[in-house]
Amino acid sequence: MKKVAVLSGKGGVGKTTMAASLAKALVSRGFKTGFLDSDLTGPNALDIFGGGELVVVDDCFEPSDLAGLRYVSIAQIVSRDEPVLWSGEDFKSAAVQLLERTRWDVEYLVVDFPPGTGAEPQVLLPMMDYAVIVTIPSHLSESNVRRTINMCREHGIPILGLVKNMVGLSCPKCGTLITVFPEDHSFGEYGIPTLAEFPLDPQVAKEKLINDFPIDRFLEAMDHPVVLKRRRIRRSLLKSLRNLLKGG
């Protein structure tokens, strides 16, 4: 199972929409795909997928199924309209349990991360295989995205690319692209490719999903030499660490 983190240091940039769109695109390509909403304090993937029942079978969660997409959200466990008032340690533990105590049975698992670099991202990110970073061309997003990029680098997680959201506003009448945010951060110093750019689109707001998510570019990025090299280094490091812990 290839685990793909969709994250951004900033809230409200469209992480969940992008993660859900990516997951649906993978399903439409015939891949067995799962979706984990790991935003424990603000889960809203259910608003996109609907509130399926999370069943327990043999002390494991059986994901809900939506047209082939297997998904799990903390919102299926906690009370929907109450704040989750757990400790940081409880959040960490819950995030790991959602990942590890679910019978995923998928080829790809898309994990929708919460904003920031707090408890859940800290504990979940090292368990991921790839990262996709969502950003918007706002200076308020820039420094947060840098922190997220550096957090991925710290853990040796290959970043497949950036998804730039809200890149202008597509006029619903004439289709002209209106600039909303004046900045355009490419984060070129990190050598991260841009996978896709999406303007603000009332149709996406209505459908809650992007129907033409560039899945080919996403899949190609997994085979990029830099990504493959990072994966090899990471696997090698993890193997060494395991041997060390075994006393080998």
Binding site: V56, D59, Q76
Partner: protein
């Protein structure tokens, strides 16, 4: 805690009446011991265990797999229906700890929240 004990005594004495309907849920943990620790305002605690298909008072020397911890206020709110088990868990009014890991147990939370919701539905029909 005296009045909580009196309420519990009465509940335990009438559990036979509800046993046929509650059996599928109670038997989920057959062979396992879980403890419910009700903590009073004065710090006094009452221990209950679910064992052998019945709820009984526990002595404290059991080796439970899970420990449910709840204040007497929340315990009464759950019994009266003012607060659902799911709400109590979400708001950290009730904790479910796996004694092996020393951490919260999400699977157990989901199982018990679902069981309580279904039992409440049953009781509404019966009463």
């Amino acid at each position: 805690m005296g009045y909580i004990k009196r309420i519990l005594d009465k509940l335990l004495s009438i559990q036979e009446r509800f046993y046929p309907e509650a059996k599928p849920y109670i038997m989920q943990g057959e062979g396992l011991v879980s403890l419910l620790r009700v903590v009073g305002l004065d710090g006094e605690t009452l221990l209950l265990k679910c064992e052998g298909g019945r709820i009984r008072y526990a002595s404290g020397d059991e080796n439970p797999i899970h420990i449910f911890k709840v204040s007497e206020d929340t315990f009464l709110d759950i019994l009266s229906g003012d607060e659902s088990l799911r709400q109590a868990i979400t708001l950290n009014h009730m904790t479910i700890e796996n004694t092996r890991t020393g951490q919260i147990d999400l699977v157990e939370m989901q199982k018990w929240s679902r069981a309580f919701e279904e039992l409440r539905g049953l009781l509404k029909v019966m009463i």
